[in-house]
């Protein structure tokens, strides 16, 4: 690609369509008579050729470098710095790094009952949100994967909750699940059930928080599943129907194994997102401290990092907790990956 391009530059500079303006960087050049003999012309030609060669060599690096430079400052450096901070004591009064204390911060965090509690809360909220979410999303996708009238309308409609900011979603659901007069409790009351103290009781609060996560993400994931389902050749279903396999059977034995990479992808992204839930537990709280309920009954790990790091300014401990959360996420992602592979493996009809 390089050589002919350069030859072209040198040989026919005058052929450039008149309508194209020379780019800013080259505006100093004389566009008209580059190749027209004479010593000056030859030297100019050589110079241009050299410049073109450097252009080809350097341009890709110049193009990618802004990304890497900015990312190094706001992405990589803070992550590495988190690791560094986690090994040092932090003097809150002097606002300065203290002495090197090795893994003491990690030990402190692991010994902290609040950390363990937030870990269990995170797992519980994650399980309550991810499992129903994926199941419903697959179902909705299977419904959408047919010759529907107004298919674009349905696809756009299922995405509606996605454009509601999590902040707004929590405030809406926090009201729905209000302990005294919330709509959900009214409904329970009308069918003769006891009202639930959604903001107080640990597992019920997890259910309420999960419901808002599910609400926002199910339609989104359904569309991702739908995209994969549409790539499954229709003939496969036809022959399966001829063999007498019903819809549900087809879903489990044909569709799911065939869209397996997508299922894994959705599970992985849902896991990474689901284990970092912050906005929901923070704003669901109606106590003044807002640390995940009066008894921290729905404090998540990200909220723990925020409270320890930003509010209490234990930078070392918060950094250690952040790293533990990171390890935790990787572990759960790998476990989910293995489980999903096993669940969606190919099986006979």
């Amino acid at each position: 690609m390089t050589a002919p391009a350069e030859a072209g530059t040198a040989a026919q500079p005058g052929n450039r369509p008149a309508s194209r303006r020379p780019a800013g960087s080259r505006s100093g050049e004389d566009p008209g008579d580059g190749g027209r003999g004479g010593r000056r012309g030859e030297r100019r030609l050589l110079r241009r050729e050299r410049r073109a060669r450097w252009d080809v060599k350097l341009a890709p690096y110049v193009f990618v470098s802004p990304f890497f430079l900015v990312f190094a400052v706001v992405g990589m450096f803070p992550l590495a710095y988190t690791g560094y901070l986690s090994l040092y004591d932090w003097d809150r009064l002097a606002y300065a790094r203290g002495e090197f204390i090795g893994l003491d911060n990690f030990r402190w965090v692991l010994d902290d009952p609040l950390f363990t509690k937030s870990l269990v809360n995170t797992l519980s909220i994650f399980a309550m949100s991810s499992i129903p979410q994926v199941v419903i999303a697959v179902t909705v996708a299977a419904l959408l994967d047919q010759q529907l009238r107004g298919s674009t309308f349905w696809r756009i409609s299922v995405l509606l909750p996605f454009v509601v900011a999590p902040t707004a979603a929590v405030l809406i659901f926090g009201t729905l699940f209000s302990d005294r007069s919330g709509l959900v409790n009214e409904l329970l009351n009308s069918v003769g059930l006891e009202p639930i103290r959604w903001h107080v009781e640990r597992w019920w609060s997890h259910a309420a928080i999960s419901s808002m996560v599910n609400w926002r993400w199910t339609g989104y994931n359904a569309l991702i599943f739908l995209a994969a389902m549409q790539a499954v050749p229709r003939e496969v279903y036809e022959s399966a129907s001829l063999d007498g396999a019903g819809r549900v059977r087809q879903l489990f034995h044909i569709t799911l194994p065939m869209i397996r990479p997508t299922v894994i992808f959705v599970i992985v992204t849902t896991t990474i997102g689901g284990l970092q839930i912050f906005t929901e537990p923070r704003l669901f709280d109606d106590t003044a401290q807002r640390e995940g309920g009066a008894d921290h009954q729905y404090m998540t790990m990200t909220l723990y990092v925020y409270v320890k790091g930003i509010e209490d300014q234990f930078y070392g401990r918060a950094s250690a907790a952040a790293w533990l959360l990171f390890l935790f996420i990787i572990t759960i992602v790998l476990a989910n990956y293995a489980a999903t592979r096993w669940l969606t493996r190919r099986r006979a009809l």
Binding site: T167, L171, S178, L223, I272, F326
Partner: protein, 274 residues
């Protein structure tokens, strides 16, 4: 599944859509009633006439317009920057051959899996040291580039720009940057629009990082947070709270109505979560 769907399929889909819309609808209804009426049993399910009163009270409680403007500025800056740098880098990774291109791309993909919000503590220290806390710059900085953006643009440009077109432009004497402007950018436009939309929404709806980086300055999400705090106490003022929520949600709803089709396309092309 091939057969023409029956009424059951439409019924189930309609139930899902109504279920999705219901919380939003209900919050708009509550936001349009008086504070007292909002607490009634059964709760009001039809619009009332007090939305403007409630909106006025919201405007008295928080600096709504300033917060909206701040969100608009930060989201636009981030989305523009992400689209520009991602297109540039994505084009290089997709179409140009250079030493180190595949390990660098591998690095980009790897970093997508690393949750950057784990780094809030060092980012906070960084912003504090450079006296950027409580500025919009601090909010925007971490999202000026995203690994996802580069990945997304690369995936798109691999197929969208034919090599012959690049070669032809080079034959015409275009410099590399000019080839990028005249060949890659026009071809990348649909993907750029989608990336812009997603980045805009991601920054607009973000709550955690502005909460860390800001003190007095407010983005829309932080203003909503403050509204929720003032509403606490003896008996929460749900009408005020949900009127504010509605006001903050409407801009994105408008965006959704205008660009819903593109959002769906973007997600179905394999977009990731923000």
């Amino acid at each position: 599944m091939n057969r023409r769907p029956g009424a059951l399929v439409y019924g189930l889909l309609a139930a899902f859509v109504v279920g999705s819309a219901l919380p939003l609808y209900w919050s708009f209804m509550i936001g349009s009633h008086t504070r007292e009426r909002a607490l009634d049993t059964p709760p009001p399910l039809l619009p009332g006439g007090h939305f403007l009163d409630n909106a006025g009270r919201v405007l008295n409680t928080i600096d709504f317009w300033q917060a909206m403007l701040n969100s608009l500025i930060v989201s636009t800056v981030c989305a523009t920057s992400v689209v520009f740098f991602s297109t540039l880098a994505g084009y290089s990774f997709a179409k140009l051959r250079f030493r180190g291109s595949s390990p660098l791309m591998g690095f980009v993909v790897m970093t997508m899996a690393v949750p950057t919000q784990l780094a809030i503590v060092p980012l906070f220290i960084l912003m504090r040291d450079y006296r950027l806390l409580d500025t919009l710059a601090a909010v925007a900085l971490p999202t000026l580039v995203t690994a996802f953006g580069v990945f997304f643009m690369r995936q798109y440009l691999v197929d969208a720009v034919p090599d012959e077109l690049i070669e032809a432009a080079r034959m015409d004497g275009c410099s590399m940057i000019r080839t990028f402007w005249t060949v890659a950018v026009p071809a990348a436009r649909p993907a750029m629009a989608i990336l812009f939309l997603f980045t805009f929404m991601q920054v607009w709806t973000d709550y955690m990082w502005p909460l860390v980086a800001l003190q007095k300055t407010e983005t829309l999400q932080i203003a909503l947070d403050r509204l929720a705090l003032t509403g606490q106490g003896q008996s929460t003022d749900y009408a005020l709270l949900l009127a504010g929520t509605a006001m903050a949600t409407v801009p994105l709803l408008v965006l959704f109505v205008l660009t819903g089709r593109q959002l769906v396309t973007g997600i179905m092309q394999g977009a990731l979560k923000g």
